[in-house]
């Protein structure tokens, strides 16, 4: 089973929508796919799957495991099934992390080709724990960003986070990359200046997996994700090289440890 994390430290980039659309595309390509919503404070995967309510969890009381539900050929599990949609999740971080670890390790999935994890935004302790929990057992991270100046600033931070965590990267999806006029012409209607994510990818040595338009035409979105799914099996995950800044931090940390040891 290949575990893929859909990630972006910035919120609102379309991680959940990407999780579902990529899952559907991989399923159409003949793969068995599971979707896991690990966004504990805003679990909305079921909404992106078109459900009004999250189905109640099934429990295997012998193995004390949670069982995913099945919808349109996909297996899925969300914390919204546990506590509903409306209550504000006010768990402290240790509780959130414990819950996340249980979701990662104690769900009884059927035989899957891909398990796609929809992660929350931020570089909080929770996210760090998520990356640590899957370290060594993750196929790679798919980054999802919009091509705007503001998003690029967050993308650079996300890349730095991934470099430090040394989790393999599969590539980047430029989501809501453009709009399509009735004439078929691509255009950019937003106030925020358009940024070229292709250039950012090139600078950082990561592949641009695809560009998905902002459109209500699901067939166009499907076509974009089908293209990505068609080469998913062949992507070679890569560990990003340390940035100059990370190298500097590591050198400082090493020196601090040496000094501390000398003082002992």
């Amino acid at each position: 089973m290949r575990r893929i994390i859909i990630s972006a430290l910035k919120g609102g980039t379309g991680k959940t929508t990407t999780t579902v659309n990529l899952g559907k595309a991989l399923h159409r390509a003949g793969h068995k796919v599971g979707l896991l919503d690990v966004d504990a404070t805003a679990p909305t995967l079921y909404k992106a799957l078109g459900l009004a309510e999250a189905p109640q969890w099934d429990l295997d009381s012998v193995a004390a495991n949670l069982l995913p539900f099945k919808i349109d050929g996909l297996y899925a599990l969300t914390l919204a099934s546990h506590y509903g949609e409306s209550p504000a999740v006010l768990w402290d971080e240790p509780t959130l992390i414990r819950a996340m670890r249980e979701l990662i390790h104690d769900v009884q999935w059927p035989e899957l080709d891909y398990l796609i994890l929809d992660s929350p935004p931020s570089s909080s302790g929770f996210m760090q724990a998520l990356y640590d929990a899957v370290a060594g057992d993750v196929y790679g991270v798919v980054l999802v960003f919009q091509p705007t100046d503001i998003a690029v600033a967050d993308l650079v931070r996300t890349l730095d986070f991934i470099k430090i965590k040394r989790v393999p990267v599969l590539g980047l999806i430029a989501n809501m990359a453009y709009c399509i006029a009735p004439s078929g012409k691509q255009f950019w209607p937003f106030i925020s200046p358009k940024a070229e994510l292709g250039e950012v990818c090139e600078e950082n040595g990561i592949p641009l997996l695809g560009e998905i338009p902002l459109t209500s035409a699901q067939n166009m979105i499907d076509a974009g994700f089908d293209r990505i799914a068609s080469f998913m099996d062949d992507i070679k995950p890569l560990i990003l090289k340390d940035s100059m800044l990370t190298k500097l931090y590591k050198a400082i940390a090493k020196r601090a440890v040496k000094t501390a040891i000398r003082r002992l």
């Binding site: 969890w57 429990l59 012998v62 004390a64 506590y83 509903g84 409306s86 509780t95």
Partner: protein
């Protein structure tokens, strides 16, 4: 006089026939997986108390030994009262559901598989206990109102 938490706990222990029926409904392997489990309910505050219980083939019993406690449920007596108000279904006070209290951090469940165990506990309570607990919840709420009235009169 018993605290509200003691009254609730005694009520949970009372209906052995119901416990046995619930156990009987389970498939044999699941029944043996849950039999013998121990838990502790801790309610802090003047209306609280600490109570241990064990599930046996004959029902839920009070337990004295805290060895191998699988789960602890911890809340204040205010939260317990809020839950009782929710169970009582009063017209002008919604109270707080146990799941909402849990997610909001007013009710904590400890254990190794906290999501699984919490789900199992809530499912059992929702399916078998809350409807039956309505009379005791209404009594408790009425008792509190009377007490408040007496305090404000004096």
């Amino acid at each position: 006089m018993d605290t509200i938490a003691e009254k609730v706990f005694n009520f949970i222990l009372e209906d052995k026939l119901l416990h046995q029926n619930i156990l009987r409904e389970l498939p044999a392997d699941k029944r043996s997986a849950v039999t013998g489990r121990k838990g502790r309910l801790i309610v802090t505050g003047p209306e609280g108390g600490s109570f241990m219980m064990r599930l046996t083939p004959l029902g839920i019993f009070r337990e004295d030994n805290d060895k191998d406690i699988r789960n602890e449920i911890l809340m204040t007596d205010d939260t317990l009262i809020g839950i009782l108000v929710w169970i009582a279904k009063l017209p002008n006070n919604p109270g707080i559901s146990p799941r909402a209290a849990y997610v909001n951090g007013f009710l904590k469940i400890s254990g190794e598989s906290v999501l699984y165990d919490a789900e199992e506990i809530f499912n059992a309570m929702e399916k078998h206990a809350f409807a039956k607990m309505q009379p005791i919840a209404r009594d408790a709420v009425a008792g509190m109102k009377q007490q408040k009235g007496a305090e404000s009169a004096s």
